[in-house]
């Protein structure tokens, strides 16, 4: 099983992003997804910067994929999706059906986690349209992944979100700006102050959610390190790790060792817990609530 680094969901200062991907070039990751998926207002990096990072990673032997923005609202959003699709060098991950339409017929695109591919029939459709990889929705259960892949088209790989704060919802509204009583278009780029999202607790003090601009995430960290055999049996070829501000390289090393059998699931889990911004949960995989640990 290969390791894939999902797109950076947070907004970090430019220097931090550049340094992060330099580290990734030297890490045991196999595939790296690049680009701004969450908010079109974020501009620390221009489109060309992402291409340059991609070139460096490709030179270091990594597979590079450009991820398209998940929620397109304006014509500007659509133009960026078009640019991503037409980049001419890297594979593209479609995260809405507009991007999928633009990619139709091109070979080798990735059907991203926000496309809502939940069954073999829709998987067969995207494969006919040229997709060669499917990233399961974050709420996918073991049964769903195995069932969807049972009649898998030839040459189609599956990727499962396996580590990181869970991306749970998108909105037109910005909840980081809302917290600070700012308008969305005058947000002051407040997301820069929350490198792993802004944590919310319930009124009785339990960690619950993390706000990341227009995206809402879990406060806990999804972790499937104890499910590696089940993931393999279900047909998973890549495990997605979501970037976090600290310890991503260590997460990749631990997961690589666990996949290769050099580290027990127990020890791997312990090591991952030590470098996570929240508790480790895996409920979705077991068909339960996402906040649970089975």
């Amino acid at each position: 099983m290969k390791l894939a680094l999902g797109p950076l969901l947070y907004y970090w200062p430019r220097a931090a992003v550049l340094s992060f991907y330099e580290d990734m070039a030297a890490s045991p990751v196999d595939a790296v997804y690049l680009g701004e998926v969450v908010c079109s207002r974020r501009h620390e990096l221009a489109f060309e910067d992402w291409l340059a990072i991609g070139a460096n990673l490709a030179a270091a032997g990594k597979e590079v994929v450009l991820s398209a923005q998940a929620l397109t609202e304006s014509e500007g959003d659509l133009k960026l999706v078009c640019r991503t699709v037409a980049n001419g060098r890297f594979r593209v991950e479609a995260n809405d059906w507009g991007a999928a339409r633009l990619l139709c017929g091109a070979r080798g695109w990735v059907a991203g986690p926000h496309l809502n591919v939940y069954n073999p029939q829709t998987l067969a459709l995207v494969a006919e349209l040229g997709a060669t990889r499917w990233v399961a929705p974050v709420e996918a259960t073991r049964e769903m992944v195995a069932g969807t892949l049972a009649e898998r088209p030839m040459d189609l790989e599956a990727e499962v979100f396996g580590f990181g704060r869970m991306p749970l919802a998108f909105s037109a509204r910005c909840f980081t700006a809302r917290r600070l009583n700012r308008q969305k278009e005058d947000c002051g780029y407040a997301c820069l102050d929350f490198p792993d999202g802004m944590a919310l607790e319930t009124r009785e003090g339990k960690p619950f959610l993390a706000v990341n601009g227009i995206q809402t995430q879990s406060s806990g960290v999804y972790c499937l390190v104890e499910e590696l055999n089940a993931l393999r049996d279900a047909g998973t070829a890549l495990l997605r790790i979501s970037p976090q501000s600290r310890g991503t390289a260590q997460v990749l090393r631990v997961l690589r060792a666990a996949i290769d059998g050099d580290l027990s699931a127990y020890d791997a889990r312990k090591a991952l817990a030590a470098c996570s911004p929240g508790k480790l949960w895996n409920g979705f995989w077991h068909g339960r609530a996402g906040v649970e640990a089975a």
Binding site: E73, D96, L168, S171, A172
Partner: protein, 332 residues
């Protein structure tokens, strides 16, 4: 300029009759299972009720839409295709579907059946909507409640697919079809189980600190005496960030776009949808009547919402508040 059509909800046969009697052009409903996104106990239509409802509506030249708009999986796929076959055989006027695989099935198995793209399909751009048109011949698309009026106009200009928008009722602050908050808290979400915060996972409890609402044990909010309580969906809760307790996503409020009707007509919106299949026949009757009168009054010239209309609609607002939502973007 074609007249804007009025699409009203029905969770039961009496609600369907109320919608038809009060002027709905279309009535939308769901079957009594998880093939639709309002899979609530005691709600929706079995075969006999659907047949009666169809006969009632068709006798009065109104149309019936069936929502089969959740996402089937490998283990239950046959239940969704059977639902499509069943309602097609009964002669419904169109079905509302989100899943691309199921849309393909419906377009192949029932080429004359009209297809509408559900709001759960999360198509927010003309490119996305045109995908569904090109692939499956979708005739109408329901837009997620995230676009501004200008953006809706932009979408409508670039597609031949008819555009339907939500005009009134409960408000999702998250993009429909892109929200797993309910599954995160309790294991069931609209996409997979057809329910957001299902009633069996909800608990209300009076405590010394106030009335508590919980979802699968998680405290969603606590209300002081006199505070209006909202149904505990995750997005309507109050949470704590560095000591501050606040509505992290939105104050409980309902959508009411009555005043935008002339704009909708001008920018080419084909239909306005009223939310609330889970609401009573009385709600359906009152809301349908107001919107029917308003649409008829909007046919030409100036349009001012009548005070009586707004008063009637305000009685159904969540937290007694109405908002124009994303159409006007007060938070922009």
């Amino acid at each position: 300029m074609p007249r804007v059509e009025l699409v009203c909800p029905a969770g039961s046969l009496p609600a369907l009759k109320a919608a038809v009697d009060n002027g709905a052009d279309w009535v939308y409903l769901g079957l009594r299972d998880d093939t639709n996104a309002r899979n609530f106990p005691g709600l929706n239509f079995d075969a006999a009720a659907l047949a009666s409802g169809l006969a009632y509506a068709h006798a009065r030249e109104r149309k019936v839409l069936v929502a089969i708009n959740t996402y089937p999986q490998a283990g239950n796929w046959a239940r969704w295709t059977a639902a499509v076959d069943r309602v097609a055989a009964l002669g419904v006027d169109a079905i509302i579907v989100a899943d691309p695989g199921l849309l393909r099935y419906a377009s192949c198995a029932h080429p004359t059946l009209e297809l509408h793209l559900s709001v759960q399909g999360s198509a927010t751009s003309h490119e996305a909507i045109n995908f569904f048109h090109q692939q499956f011949g979708v005739k109408r698309a329901v837009l997620p409640r995230v676009l501004s009026l200008a953006q809706v106009a932009q979408v409508a200009r670039h597609t031949q697919v008819e555009i339907e928008v939500f005009g009134f009722g409960g408000l999702c602050v998250m993009v429909e079809g892109r929200c797993a908050l309910s599954a995160y808290a309790c294991g069931e979400s609209p996409n997979t189980a057809g329910a957001c915060s299902p009633a069996h996972a909800v608990r209300w409890r009076e405590t010394p600190g106030g009335l508590e609402s919980r979802l699968a044990g998680i405290l969603i909010d606590r209300y002081a005496p006199g505070e209006r309580a909202a149904y505990p969906t995750v997005c309507k809760g109050r949470y704590v960030e560095r000591g501050a307790t606040y509505y992290a996503f939105e104050e409980p409020a309902s959508l009411n776009t009555l005043e935008l009707l002339p704009e909708f007509a001008r920018i080419g919106v084909r239909a306005v949808k009223i939310e609330g299949r889970q609401r009573s026949p009385a709600y359906v009757a009152q809301v349908t009547r107001v919107w029917r009168e308003a649409i008829d009054a909007c046919k030409g010239g100036t349009f001012t919402p009548r005070r009586a209309w707004l008063a009637a609609l305000d009685r159904h607002a969540e937290g007694s508040q109405h908002t124009l939502g994303a159409f006007s973007r007060p938070w922009k």
